[in-house]
């Protein structure tokens, strides 16, 4: 099939899904009201509550949810063939993805701007909040592990990327100085630093890491794992304007320029899919259901988005009706991003064997090769394109990792400072989070880490959908459009986590893996089981809440009779 057909299909699903389904839910079921004062307006404090225009929030939401997930998920899922991934991306987004993203923002808005912790407390039970927090901590740890792994494999697979990474970091630090200290015109700052980052991408091609530090060191996983987590450490501990924000600022331009021209490249080249539409039901890492579903990750449905929608976007929406384009609309754009990733990887290799060889080295290399090919269509030399793709990959992963580590640090101090004041120290929490992350990166096989991350991520989505359903029930609104997604996601992700965790632990018990791999398998497997256990408790609490709301709904009718 031709790649443009896939793009058109995606656009059609986005258009009709948004127009016919999403809009109807927004107007008829939720009854969004443009005259209602949103929390951003009602509680405007300039801190968390700040009314912001729809277009800005559209960009903000997109940047916050477009990480490594939607891009790498489809690339990895191609192992089952492109068709299952395509179908799941389209249908997942249409029936589940936007529902969660949109409704998370909506429920947070209607509930005074509470975030997921507060919502679970209010709508489910106080205990649900504590379990959800623990769940989120380990879910985020898996993000750090899976994404950290991507950074490491990309840095090793593409020797130009470390230099480009270094340059972009330097450009970001410079941007920080120019914005926060010297207060230069933002356009000047942007041009100077983005150009510097682009130069770095070129420098990467002439100064590959193995030439500078030797092939031995350049292939050491621990070196890049430490580099990645030191980077995140700085981001979590340093003043955010000095490190994290300005680097993200420059990276955003580099990444989105790459995506933009890459998409143009796809339209120009409009290649046919070269990989098979379908390989087999079960591959090495597991069967299509449930494993492929969680592998595709954010392009279909992602729990991460519910956190962004509720904690970030919902507090800035100035009009209730903006929740649909910002919460829901951006998910459809994310779907297109996932299709873009599916296309560049699915049309790149002449044979499944070649693809298999490439993906074995890590998905970052596949992405970089694809970016190189399609940026080539707009005139970029292939080696520069590869370098470009690799640095995009690193920053798509590491910007999310930064946030995750930062949050884990805050969580440590908040949850554990009662036990000992030591945990209040920013370095302690960051150190713990980084150490755990490095452990996962160094000991876990990336495919399993990815599945665990994907499973946890979509299980988080199921939890968010459950909270949404509870809210709908508490208000007496039709809830089936979020209840069935909740059930489907819960069953799928629990199955995926149990399947993979069981396999991991089984290998440990049978002695199939030794040394550090055994330790990694054991820890990842235990985390998987813990997440499943936590989700069962949450589901139990959720069911109780559903029952309460149902009884509430029946009672007034009975009283009237």
């Amino acid at each position: 099939m031709n790649s443009v057909v896939v793009l058109v299909l995606g656009l059609a699903v986005a258009y009709f899904g948004y127009r016919l389904y999403a809009k109807r839910i927004d107007r008829r079921v939720i009854q969004s009201d443009p005259r209602k004062a949103t929390p951003a307006k009602m509680y405007m404090d300039g801190v968390e509550f700040m009314p912001t225009s729809r277009n800005i929030l559209f960009g903000y939401q997109f940047k916050s949810i477009a990480g490594a997930g939607p891009i790498l998920g489809p690339i990895i899922a191609l192992q089952w063939g492109w068709l299952p991934a395509l179908v799941w991306i389209l249908l997942g987004t249409l029936f589940i993805g936007w529902v969660q993203d949109y409704a998370s923002a909506m429920v947070a808005m209607r509930k005074d701007g509470a975030s997921m912790g507060g919502l679970s407390h209010k709508l489910i039970s106080p205990r649900a909040r504590m379990i959800l927090l623990a769940f989120i901590y380990f879910y985020l740890l898996l993000i750090a592990g899976a994404f950290g792994n991507v950074v490491v494999s990309t840095a090793i697979g593409l020797k130009g990327s470390p230099m480009a990474w270094l340059f972009l970091t330097g450009a970001g630090l410079l941007a920080g100085q120019m914005i926060y200290r010297w207060r230069k015109d933002i356009i000047l700052t942007t041009v100077v630093t983005v150009v510097l980052a682009l130069i770095g991408i070129w420098v990467g091609t002439v100064a590959p890491s193995d030439k500078i530090i030797g092939a031995g060191l350049a292939n050491e996983r621990w070196l890049w794992a430490i580099a990645a987590f030191v980077f995140c450490y700085f981001a979590a501990v340093l003043p955010i304007w000095r490190f994290a924000l300005p680097i993200n600022y420059v990276a955003a331009y580099v990444v989105f320029l790459g995506l933009f021209f890459g998409l143009i490249g796809v339209v120009i080249l409009h290649p046919d899919f070269t990989l098979p539409a379908y390989s087999s039901f079960t591959i090495k890492i597991g069967p299509i259901w449930p494993i492929m579903f969680v592998t595709v990750a954010c392009g279909a449905i992602s729990g991460w988005h519910s956190l962004v929608s509720s904690s970030g976007t919902a507090r800035q929406l100035e009009n209730e009706q903006d929740a649909l384009p910002v919460g829901g609309g951006v998910m459809f754009v994310e779907m297109l991003l996932a299709l873009f990733a599916l296309i560049i990887a699915g049309t790149l290799y002449a044979s499944p064997a070649q693809y298999g060889e490439a993906i074995a080295k890590g998905p970052g290399g596949v992405f970089a090769a694809g970016v190189s090919k399609f940026l080539g269509a707009v005139g970029l030399p292939a080696d520069v394109g590869r370098s470009y793709g690799s640095v995009m990959m690193i920053f798509l992963a590491i910007t999310i990792m930064q946030l995750v580590i930062r949050f884990m640090r805050i969580a440590t101090s908040e949850l554990l400072s009662d036990i000992s004041p030591v945990f209040r120290n920013a370095h302690v929490g960051t150190f713990i989070a980084s150490l755990l992350g490095i452990f996962l990166v160094m000991t876990g096989w990336w495919q399993y880490l990815w599945i665990l991350f994907g499973g946890a991520n979509q299980l988080m989505a199921s939890m968010a959908l459950m909270i949404i359903t509870a809210w709908l029930m508490s208000e007496g609104r039709p809830a089936s459009w979020s209840l069935w997604p909740t059930v489907f996601m819960f069953v799928t992700t629990v199955a995926a986590l149990l399947y993979t965790s069981y396999n991991l632990l089984d290998k440990v018990f049978k002695g199939a893996v030794k040394g550090e791999a055994a330790a990694g398998n054991a820890v990842i497997g235990i985390i998987g089981f813990f997440l499943v256990l936590a989700s069962f408790v949450l589901a139990y609490e959720g069911l109780k809440a559903f029952g309460r709301y149902r009884a509430m709904k029946v009672q007034p009718a009975g009283a009237q009779a």
């Binding site: 914005i179 230069k184 933002i186 304007w241």
Partner: protein
């Protein structure tokens, strides 16, 4: 007999224009203030004597009601003023209310804001800080050669002084915070490509307040401009307390110009037929005068006998001035 060297201080240090008498309550500070002001006015200087004591007593000593009436001329060149702190606070509250009404075009002050204004005025420190501010106003306005402060009792004066440095440090911190806030504002403006920001009115207010508090504490502690005199009497408790107070004052950098002894029983009485009671008192006085001279030495600037009647009214003030400064 102790030489009268008080006048010399004024001749030697013509820059010392803020004159203050301190000491325990009831030792005659107001009397000395009035007499000094009278002396300086007679010498041809323009003098303002004002009371910063909430229980102002200048009205009594000049036998004229000047309370809350602003500077009032007593004799040519001599003006006296008693600050009506209560009234000032009420006016000030109304100024604040008016400012809020003007700034936001409100007809009525929101309830929580009004209750705040009320609560702030009810604070015991409110009156003192209002007076404090008035003093600065008076001194900053200028127009006089000398300012004679009829000081509050020692404890309060020290409280002012100690708070001045605390306030100053606090305002320094708050101003720093405000400036940091402004930096973030500017950063946001840079990122959004917005034009220059309005001035931060609060920052300006803070700088104003800092300036006021600095000025008032400076008036009390300026070595060049300030002459601070302690009033003592030949009594054990007074001497001991004064020594302690002087230590405290020097800790706060208040420049001490010297000590004046008050309430001496005239020595001449010794040679007359007097009752035992007075004899004993005189003997005690002699003893404590020795203690005083060994403690304070040549910092004793004048010794003033107990008058046969209250020092009120201009003739008595003039008499007192002559005793303090010699003939003029």
């Amino acid at each position: 007999m102790i030489p009268i060297s008080l006048a010399r201080i004024f001749e030697q240090f013509p820059d010392r224009r803020y004159i203050m008498f301190g000491g325990k309550g009831g030792l005659g500070k107001t009397t000395f203030s009035a007499a000094t002001a009278y002396y300086l006015a007679k010498r041809g200087h323009r003098v303002l004597i004002f009371s910063v004591d909430p229980q102002a007593s200048l009205t009594d000593i000049f036998q004229r009601d000047i309370f809350g009436k602003g500077p009032t001329e007593i004799i040519p060149n001599l003006y006296a003023q008693e600050i009506d702190a209560d009234k000032r606070v009420r006016e000030y509250q109304e100024e604040i209310r008016q400012k809020i009404r003007d700034m936001y075009g409100m007809d009525t002050i929101p309830e929580e804001i009004e209750s705040y204004i009320q609560a702030a005025a009810a604070e015991p420190a409110m009156e003192e800080s209002a007076i404090f501010d008035q003093v600065v106003d008076i001194v900053v306005q200028g127009g006089y050669d000398y300012y004679v402060y009829d000081l509050v009792p020692l404890g309060h004066a020290l409280y002012y002084l100690s708070m001045a440095s605390v306030y100053d440090a606090w305002i320094g911190k708050i101003t720093g915070l405000r400036q940091q806030m402004r930096e973030y504002d500017q950063v946001a403006a840079v990122i959004k490509r917005e034009k220059e920001l309005d001035e931060d009115a609060i920052l300006n207010e803070l700088l104003y307040i800092k300036d006021r508090i600095n000025k008032s504490s400076k008036i009390l502690t300026d070595k060049k401009m300030t002459a601070f005199f302690f009033v003592i009497t030949p009594e054990e408790m007074v001497i001991k307390d004064t020594v302690k107070a002087a230590e405290l004052f020097s800790k706060f950098d208040v420049p001490l110009s010297g000590y004046i002894i008050n309430r001496l029983i005239p020595q001449e009485l010794k040679h007359q037929a007097i009752p035992d009671y007075l004899k004993n008192r005189l003997a005690m006085q002699e003893h404590y005068l020795k203690v005083i001279s060994s403690t304070f030495g040549d910092q004793i600037l004048a010794a003033v006998p107990e008058m046969e009647r209250d020092v009120t009214g201009l003739p008595m003030i003039e008499r007192m001035a002559r005793v303090m400064f010699g003939e003029f």
